[in-house]
């Protein structure tokens, strides 16, 4: 049986959603790349978002992948929310890039500050991305 090998993360970003492009059924558009989040009413928390989409582009993985997204307050180091853990198979050719998109609905940020959006793979944090809630 082939060993499971962690991938490297070629890219990671957070956006509102990925939608099928009108140009082609094979094309997807990332909408609204998220770096900053402002409350609808200034000073009112928590800030709730209907959805975010976390995109990680993986390469070099072998065997079975298992990962999740964890959002952590940078100030308190407390986890705020997460995606469920998911499992997938890597392509036979490890050089191929595998985009993995975690759509997470009903996200809530309890207060202003910096948040880490982390990609964990088999109990290793492979990448993280910052989001500032203002």
């Amino acid at each position: 049986m082939a060993a499971n090998i962690d991938p490297i993360v070629r890219h990671m970003f957070v956006c509102d959603d990925l939608v099928r492009s009108s140009r082609s059924p094979d094309q997807w558009d990332a909408l609204g790349v998220v770096n900053y989040i402002r409350p609808a009413v200034p000073g009112r928390y928590p800030v709730r978002l209907r959805q975010i989409a976390v995109v990680v582009q993986l390469a070099g993985g072998r065997g079975v992948g298992q990962g999740y997204i964890l959002v952590v307050s940078a100030d308190t180091e407390d986890p705020v929310f997460a995606s469920p853990v998911h499992t997938w198979n890597y392509p036979p050719d490890p050089l191929r890039v595998l985009p993995v998109v975690f759509r997470i609905r009903e996200c809530s940020f309890p207060r202003s500050g910096l948040y880490w959006v982390q990609f964990w793979h088999r109990d290793r944090k492979l990448a993280e991305y910052t989001v500032q809630v203002e």
Partner: protein, 65 residues
């Protein structure tokens, strides 16, 4: 005989999630300008509600980086 016409997809997030074989291209653009374009032969999408239960979140805290 089964109706061959698929039911319309009324879900706000579009089609079902999970493995999506086939060549795909992801475009990241801002104000009409393409920032990044990624191409791949496979594409996975997972669609879930956020896990917020403290007991469940505590399980995510354990792995060291």
């Amino acid at each position: 005989m089964a109706d061959p016409t698929p039911a319309p997809d009324h879900r706000p997030n579009g089609p079902p999630t999970g493995p999506r074989p086939g060549r795909v291209e992801i475009t990241v653009s801002q104000d009409g300008k393409v920032l990044h374009q990624f191409r791949a032969d496979e594409f996975l999408m997972f669609d879930d509600e956020a896990v917020t239960d403290p007991a469940e979140l505590a399980k995510f805290r354990q792995p060291p980086s």
